[in-house]
């Protein structure tokens, strides 16, 4: 087996040094009834070529986004990732190292995390950011838990514009900890309805901009209302590229900003691995979940970086930790940072503008199709539209014509009563031809 270096002679020699008669002697603590006599009922080992063929066959049964027009967003976005990003994250020194427990020989990872934290803090307009969480949805759930710790209150208000899967993940984590989750009715402009639900028990209000329907909202007024009753404002963003164009959560008064960072540096990959961004005010840093990288000096006074404030964490605090997170999304965070460094502020801004421009182009083309009503009043790169047919059926019909038309709301939230609403998205990878093909096919399907 090509990954196992020990030879039969090595094994014999090692057993002799150990003083064991055979390998079975080393498994002597296993109850005899539980010892398998031979290999389990699965195929035997295979060569690289055979494995590559088997997996390539499976891959070929999927319609990749780049193979034709694709308009899915709703929490995961297809962007172009420069080739150099993938080269860096495949460097052995980054790929095959672990959490930097020994900082003297992990400065590469640590400095990159320090850069990541600085970038995330700048993008979100908040003072401190952590070294990443699993993804945007788990970051959102952790934000609710953190708000409950900070305020010592037990109710979370979730906007009806929050991605339904984020709302479900937040409910799953929060309700077990005794935090009551009030999820408001789904609506394209749901953020406007949030303030009325804030009361004296409210630990936090969770809003999303651009929201799951694509609507962009200035949440400053919600921040004021939340703060007036002692609650925190959590602002969720699933499309990190929007930070290049839109007001940051911090600028609008957010106490915690969480985001899905996949758009920057990371592939769609059918939903994971992604990278959760998490930023907050400095005053709350000791209630933050996840790893933090901080600056310090070595014995010769040279600057270096270490994991810090670990007294919040499970390996020190055990059942009193701020979260149970150990492994997070290190390599995806590195991809984010390398891509962001390549973009720089100028590139990110331009990228955001191109995305918005393509989405306007998409809006204009689809709005002209009979039977389509564009619902989203203010959008960044995705929008909701009402069709005069059930959206899921239209998506299936267009998939048969090799057009991935977007995400029907009924798939995300059947209870929303929006079976005729389709979410569509355009990015810099969306070409004019794609949009024309989509509009034409949609025209035919809706006329059918």
């Amino acid at each position: 087996m090509r990954y196992l270096p020990l030879t039969a002679a090595d094994r014999a020699e090692m057993l002799a040094v150990i003083g064991a008669p055979d390998i079975d002697a080393l498994f002597a603590d296993v109850p005899p009834a539980a010892r398998l006599a031979g290999p389990v009922d699965l195929p035997r080992h295979a060569g690289e070529l055979e494995v590559e063929r088997a997996l390539s066959r499976l891959a070929a049964r999927n319609r990749s986004s780049g193979a034709g027009p694709s308009f899915c967003g709703a929490g995961a976005y297809r962007h172009h990732v420069p080739a150099s990003v993938d080269h860096i994250i495949q460097r052995s020194e980054f790929l095959t190292s672990y959490t930097p427990y020994q900082p003297e020989i992990a400065q590469g990872t640590l400095q990159a995390l320090f850069e990541f934290q600085t970038q995330v803090a700048a993008l979100t307009g908040l003072q401190v950011a952590n070294a990443s969480l699993y993804d945007g949805s788990t970051a959102c759930a952790e934000a609710v838990m953190m708000a409950a710790r900070v305020t010592r209150r037990t109710k979370a208000v979730l906007s009806g514009g929050l991605h339904p899967h984020y709302a479900e993940a937040a409910w799953t984590l929060a309700h077990t900890a005794g935090v009551r989750v009030e999820r408001l009715a789904a609506a394209v402009d749901a953020e406007r309805a949030v303030t009325g639900a804030i009361d004296a028990d409210t630990a936090c209000v969770v809003v999303q901009t651009p929201n799951v329907f694509g609507t962009v909202t200035d949440v400053s007024a919600i921040a004021e209302a939340a703060h007036a009753s002692g609650a925190l404002l959590v602002v969720v963003t699933t499309e990190a590229v929007s930070y290049g164009l839109l007001k940051s959560p911090g600028e609008m008064g957010a106490d915690i900003a969480v985001a899905e960072g996949q758009s920057i540096g990371n592939a769609l990959s059918f939903g994971g691995p992604y990278v959760g961004l998490f930023a907050c005010r400095e005053a709350h840093v000791r209630q933050m979940p996840g790893r933090l990288c901080g600056e310090t000096a070595d014995a010769e006074g040279k600057r270096g970086f270490v994991l810090t404030l670990s007294t919040r964490e499970q390996h020190i605090r055990r059942e009193k930790a701020t979260s149970n997170i150990c492994t997070n999304s290190g390599l995806c965070a590195l991809a984010f940072t390398v891509h962001m460094t390549l973009l720089g502020e100028a590139g990110l801004r331009r990228l955001a503008e191109v995305n918005h421009g393509r989405a306007r182009m998409l809006r204009d083309a689809l709005a002209a199709v009979p039977g389509v009503e564009v619902l989203t009043p203010r959008f960044f790169n995705e929008l909701a539209m009402r069709l005069d047919k059930p959206a899921a059926a239209v998506v299936e019909a267009l998939a048969a014509r090799d057009i991935i038309a977007g995400v029907p709301v009924s798939r995300l939230d059947p209870a929303a009563g929006m079976d005729d609403v389709l979410l569509v998205c355009a990015t810099e990878t969306t070409m004019q031809d794609d949009i024309a093909a989509f509009a034409e096919a949609l025209r035919e399907e809706l006329a059918r």
């Binding site: 990954y3 090595d10 094994r11 150990i18 064991a20 002597a28 603590d29 009834a33 398998l36 031979g38 290999p39 590559e52 997996l55 499976l58 891959a59 999927n62 990749s64 899915c72 995961a76 420069p82 860096i88 460097r91 052995s92 020194e93 980054f94 790929l95 095959t96 020989i105 400065q107 590469g108 990872t109 320090f114 600085t118 070294a131 993804d135 788990t138 838990m145 799953t172 962009v216 007001k247 059918f270 600056e295 310090t296 070595d298 014995a299 270096g304 970086f305 270490v306 404030l309 007294t311 979260s323 492994t327 997070n328 390599l331 995806c332 460094t341 390549l342 973009l343 720089g344 191109v354």
Partner: protein, 515 residues
């Protein structure tokens, strides 16, 4: 920029066991290891390394919603970016450079085929919400991975979506909680051995449970008497790591399961160390009700400097109905994805994250499994256990094994008794090992062993590399016993940086660059 060739003490030379002079394992010349500033100290505010089309921006419909102030992000051209991050990479130790015996973390070889497979556009460039008719291959892959995991563990069901080991623990405990609540049973306590990894009690607390510790016996196992005394009608689950964090198999595991079930509780097994028994023992045969599997440990998906991981959880028949959405089923029209908690999934405890889990890790893990096959995976466990016992045997004369009697499993645990009266600590030994060219072992974990040093060689180290590592540690033991304290206290001397002040970092946190 300056090279870091500053005046450092050279490593003292000592005779190794062959009587030859021990050569420094590292070349003296350090001229090519560069100091590297932060991007914020060198990047241009106008610069970009990406050529994008012109944007004809009409943001009139976003009036009042757009940024008015600069973000404060520097950019670099592509050559500058590459050079920056490649220079940073050279300050990292990695499995591909030398043995990385970080106990409990399972730092084994990461096959590059797996990287290549995960990047096939049919896996990497598919959207989680595109029609299921267009992702049949992806669902088939998830189904195959589930089949391998169920067969290897002897368990009937698996929830794939947890994103790391601790997320898997949460998944398992929430399934247990849902199962108990479904029978109207509001138990509030989870029992956790004192030697458990910190994520176990942290997860139990997050899942809404009180944590009660179970004592450990002198030979490093769960104290059955203490377990029996603490089991009762309020105990929801017993969380036991097996093989445990001391690197030992819980000999009484069948009794642990029997007692747990007799008390009406569930047996959660932390499967972080499944790599020691894969292919030789099925947790399903041990009475386990739920166990997470760290794909980044046993099935070698890369650790990536701290993730991403993946933590699928295998479940018993009793817990399977409570698994979280989404999951894959198959029918006459191919594979389907169950995404809603309705119908067959009405008892699901909820949802752990936005999408279907760590697809990129599933591809890598399945490639690893297919490569090894049933026979190779069995060999994985055997070689991992053989390597750890070999390390234990080679070092036991000079170091003090925490549990000298009987074999260990995949990792060898030492305490710091051998350092008594030397003035040298476990931390010092770890740092001195860096100067020998190795990543240190896990130190001060598990907490139940004084000055713990946990060494996990893994099955992908050659005998030669393991010998090199043992000899380095034996040299250090000889130096410690000879009173060469300076070699330890100042270490590391040969790393990119000298010992870092972690106390100062925590006292006045600087968590981002400021001008």
């Amino acid at each position: 920029m300056t090279a870091v060739a500053v005046g450092r003490p050279t490593r003292p030379e000592v005779a190794n066991e062959d009587g030859r002079r021990g050569a420094a394992p590292e070349a003296e010349g350090r001229g090519l290891v560069q100091d590297e500033p932060l991007i914020f100290e060198r990047g241009g505010w106008e610069k970009t390394g990406v050529d994008l089309p012109e944007a004809d921006l009409d943001a009139s419909d976003l009036a009042g919603l757009t940024r008015t102030a600069p973000i404060g992000l520097p950019g670099l051209s592509e050559p500058e970016t590459l050079r920056h991050y490649v220079r940073l990479s050279q300050k990292n130790h990695a499995i591909d450079l030398a043995m990385y015996p970080l106990g409990s973390c399972t730092m084994k070889h990461n096959p590059r085929l797996n990287e290549k497979m995960a990047r096939l556009p049919g896996f990497a460039d598919i959207h989680p919400l595109q029609p299921v008719s267009t992702v049949q291959g992806a669902l088939a892959l998830m189904d195959q991975l589930a089949h391998w995991l169920k067969t290897l563990t002897g368990m009937p069901a698996v929830a794939l979506s947890p994103k790391a080991g601790a997320h898997g623990e949460l998944c398992g405990l929430l399934a247990i909680r849902a199962a108990l609540e479904a029978r109207g049973d509001g138990r509030r306590t989870v029992l956790v051995p004192v030697s458990a990894h910190g994520t176990n009690p942290a997860t139990a607390a997050i899942a809404g449970y009180q944590v009660v510790e179970i004592a450990q016996t002198a030979d490093g196992r769960v104290d059955i008497g203490d377990l029996a005394a603490k089991l009762g009608p309020d105990v929801a689950a017993v969380m036991v790591t097996n093989p445990n964090t001391c690197g030992l198999f819980e000999r009484d595991v069948l009794e642990i399961a029997r007692l747990t079930h007799a008390a009406g509780a569930f047996f959660y097994c932390d499967g972080a160390n499944f790599n020691a028994i894969v292919g030789r023992v099925r947790p399903g045969d041990l009475g386990v009700d739920a166990m997470h599997i760290n794909l980044h440990k046993t099935f070698s998906t890369p650790h990536g400097g701290g993730g991403p991981g993946a933590g699928p959880v295998v479940l018993s028949e009793a817990l399977a109905p409570f698994a979280p959405a989404p999951w894959v089923t198959s029918g006459p029209e191919g594979f389907r994805l169950i995404e809603r908690n309705t119908g067959d999934a009405a008892q699901a405890f909820g949802r752990l994250s936005a999408f279907h889990g760590q697809m990129g890790m599933y591809v890598r893990a399945l490639a690893y499994m297919l490569s090894h096959g049933a026979d190779g995976l069995r060999q994985v466990a055997e070689d991992a256990v053989l390597a750890a016992n070999y390390v234990k045997a080679r070092l036991s004369g000079e170091l003090t094994p925490a549990f000298p009697d009987g074999p260990c499993m995949h990792e060898a645990l030492f305490d710091d008794a051998w350092l008594e009266d030397t003035g040298i600590t476990t931390l010092d030994v770890a740092k001195a090992l860096i100067d020998e060219g190795f990543h240190p072992m896990t130190m001060y974990f598990p907490l139940v062993v004084h000055g713990a040093m946990l060494i996990e060689p893994t099955e992908t180290e050659s005998k030669r590399e393991i010998d090199r590592f043992c000899e380095a540690l034996l040299r250090l033991a000889a130096a410690a016993k000879a009173g060469d304290v300076a070699r330890f206290k100042g270490a590391p001397f040969k790393a990119p940086l000298r010992r870092l002040d972690e106390t100062a970092a925590a006292r006045k946190p600087r968590l981002k660059w400021t001008p």
